[in-house]
């Protein structure tokens, strides 16, 4: 129970004010400075991945995430190592927050530079937190249909690859033509460097990695062309995922996720100045999607399947084979970026509990929302927590009703489970006490609610609402929004940090546990082996290629590949000892 592999991804907003405008650094440069400072604290190895990033000694990673780096966009993302158990996951999330916060402070950037653990900025850009849980993708005939469909998708995969190949040839042809144009016009151009930048982009002109391998206008064309070329695969995969991927899980989990904001919402001042319980939920516009392919913001993201088919399979047939496994990564893009440890612990812990119950088959009659996306938004906007939404079957339920339903179901499940852990008991108790406290608060007259918000220092939305109430009346939207954002700032000036220093925040993990989690990988996880090899060979002469699936030692024919999914031995008993690496084969990733 509460023993599945799970991980958190957090996209941090960047707060940056250069000392003076000429010294302004690009977002990629800020990322590089940050990683440089991280290296002063822990060993890192550059990720062997299609995305720019580094893995750290604890098996987690730090990435530069951007769709248009040449256009100046980008943010810094952290991924925890694969953990087991909610409390362990909270410890590793805190370790990641602490590591990047320290690195930002020590990065030597002139001016103000810091990170904000939040899900959207004041301009409406949405990013933030994602959760990953190891769950069965399907069972019975649906699992076989999923596998058969993957084979059926392969012609679409080949079609996309052919298109990408053509695109690469066109890019090479463009570079040749641009070279001729440059040679012909550089003497006539008033600023040859500006002409070169417009034709070739910063990387080629400056002869170093700047995060902008092409000019912004080429980047835009390539991005749109990629979307068009992969559209047939995207449509086919989308239909396939809708029909077969995580259907049982989605059916049992969706009403829980919609109502989860009452305990795990981080609070949000919307564009109209209203206070909402959660900041990510109002941005959701579909249940299933790829996350940004066509401006979709799904609750359940299938983008990792899409990336595997489009990119990873090119280099590794094993990546394609991995999609046939009965257990896959369920990615939930709904969760808020929590500052309160209790909020975060309840968010991942109650979700793991419900997933355990669904897998055990005890939530087959879970409530189903009639209109899921409007329900997500309605619950997030319902700061009074008395709004009821329609369920299938004609009933209605509020977010608190739904949370009570799931709490009772999990309690019954735990009572009859032979391996109920101490953490599970603690979690159920905390969940119930929290719902009791919220119920007591909502039963007060509205005039008394604002002055005594319950659960300050325990739940994020309550803590943030308390701070907003302290501002008094007649306060501008910008001032309220500053409180909303600066609450999440990972620095000593951050409002949540100030509350921690004042001792008003309830902790779930100790500082010693967090410090250890910065440097050591969790046991019984693929991260255990990743962290081991990273610490053993991270500063050795041998080339080390690290990603989520493998560790590769050396290059060429003599390279050895260690598969991280083999962190348990043949008897089924898991072990933290790394296996002996095998020789590299053509299918290494």
């Amino acid at each position: 129970m509460l023993n599945r592999l799970a991980g958190l991804e957090t996209e941090y907003a960047i707060r940056y004010r250069p000392a003076d405008e000429p010294s302004r650094l690009s977002r990629f440069r800020l990322y590089q400075r940050l990683v440089g400072a991280v290296r002063q604290v822990v060993l890192t190895v550059r990720a062997h991945h299609f995305k720019e990033g580094v893995f750290t000694a604890n098996g987690g990673a730090i990435w530069f995430e951007s769709e248009r780096p040449a256009g100046g966009a980008g943010l810094i993302e952290g991924s925890t190592p694969e953990c087991r158990g909610p409390r362990q996951l909270v410890a590793y999330q805190r370790a990641q927050d602490r590591l990047v916060a320290r690195a930002a402070a020590a990065a030597g950037v002139e001016g103000d530079f810091g990170l904000i653990k939040v899900d959207r900025d004041a301009q409406g850009n949405v990013f933030g937190a994602q959760e990953n849980y190891d769950v069965p993708i399907a069972r019975g005939w649906r699992l076989w249909a999923w596998r058969a469909g993957l084979i059926g998708l392969f012609p679409f995969v080949l079609l996309s690859w052919a298109g990408f190949g053509l695109l690469i040839l066109m890019l090479l042809a463009y570079l040749g033509a641009a070279g001729m144009v440059y040679m012909a016009f550089r003497r006539l151009a008033r600023e040859p460097r500006a002409l070169a930048l417009a034709l070739f982009g910063r990387d080629l002109v400056e002869g170093r990695e700047t995060g902008a391998p092409t000019p912004a206008w080429v980047e835009s064309i390539v991005l749109n062309a990629t979307r068009v070329l992969s559209a047939p695969l995207a449509i086919a995969l989308f239909v396939h995922c809708r029909l077969f991927a995580f259907r049982e899980i989605r059916r049992g989990l969706t009403a829980f996720l919609a109502s989860r904001c009452v305990v795990s919402g981080s609070g949000y001042v919307d564009m109209a100045g209203n206070f909402q319980l959660a900041d990510k939920a109002p941005a959701m516009n579909c249940l299933v999607g790829f996350g940004g392919f066509l401006r979709d913001r799904p609750v359940y993201t299938m983008g990792h399947f899409f990336k595997t088919l489009c990119v990873e399979c090119v280099f590794s047939p094993r990546a394609f084979a991995s999609l046939f496994a009965p257990r896959q990564r369920l990615q939930i893009a709904l969760g808020d970026s929590n500052m309160c440890e209790i909020s975060e612990w309840l968010k991942v812990g109650t979700t793991m509990f419900v997933l355990d119950a669904i897998e055990a088959g005890v939530l087959r009659k879970a409530p189903v929302l009639r209109n899921p996306i409007p329900a997500f938004r309605a619950f997030a906007a319902d700061a009074g927590m008395d709004h009821a939404v329609a369920l299938r079957g004609g009933r209605t339920a509020s977010a608190l009703d739904l949370q009570r339903y799931y709490l009772d179901a999990c309690r019954r499940f735990a009572r009859h489970h032979p391996a109920t852990s101490r953490e599970a008991v603690d979690l159920l108790e905390c969940w119930e006490r929290t719902l009791d406290a919220i119920t007591a608060w909502t039963s007060r007259p509205p005039s008394e609610r604002s002055s005594a918000a319950p659960l300050v220092g325990v739940l994020d939305w309550a803590t943030k609402r308390y701070l907003l109430d302290q501002l008094g009346d007649g306060v501008s939207w910008a001032q309220r929004k500053k409180v909303d954002l600066r609450y999440h700032e990972l620095s000593e000036e951050g409002y949540f940090h100030q509350l921690v220093t004042a001792g008003v925040v309830t902790r779930v993990v100790t500082d010693e546990e967090v410090e250890r989690a910065v440097r050591v990988a969790p046991p019984d996880s693929p991260a255990t082996m990743r962290g081991h090899f990273l610490r053993e060979f991270g500063d050795a002469e041998i080339w080390l290629g690290v990603n989520w699936r493998t560790v590769t030692l050396g290059r060429g024919r003599g390279a050895k590949v260690v598969r991280l999914d083999r962190y348990h031995d043949e008897s089924g008993r898991r072990t933290t000892k790394p296996r002996r690496p095998r020789r590299a084969s053509p299918d290494r990733s």
């Binding site: 850009n125 032979p418 953490e423 603690d426 406290a437 500053k482 600066r486 000036e493 902790r507 989690a517």
Partner: protein, 72 residues
């Protein structure tokens, strides 16, 4: 099997000094915090500092925090 696995994990966690179960002291603090309507009211000086800081150039702060991802 599940019970065995959990037991192994718990043993491994405890052995290596990793995160184990919720410490008793945290559990007690949590119970007290949730039992009261306002867990521990933030000190007045902290609230004053936050209120004062929130008034300082809020619009500029919001602009400094703009973080486009590029996929919008």
């Amino acid at each position: 099997m599940e019970s065995k696995c959990h037991s192994d994990v718990h043993e491994a966690s405890t052995r290596s000094g990793e995160v184990a179960d919720l410490p008793g002291v945290v559990r007690d603090v949590l119970a007290d915090a949730i039992a009261s309507s306002v867990a521990v009211p933030p000190p007045a000086n902290v609230l004053r500092a936050i209120r004062s800081d929130s008034r300082a150039a809020p619009k500029a702060y919001l602009d400094e925090c703009e973080t486009p991802f590029g996929g919008e």
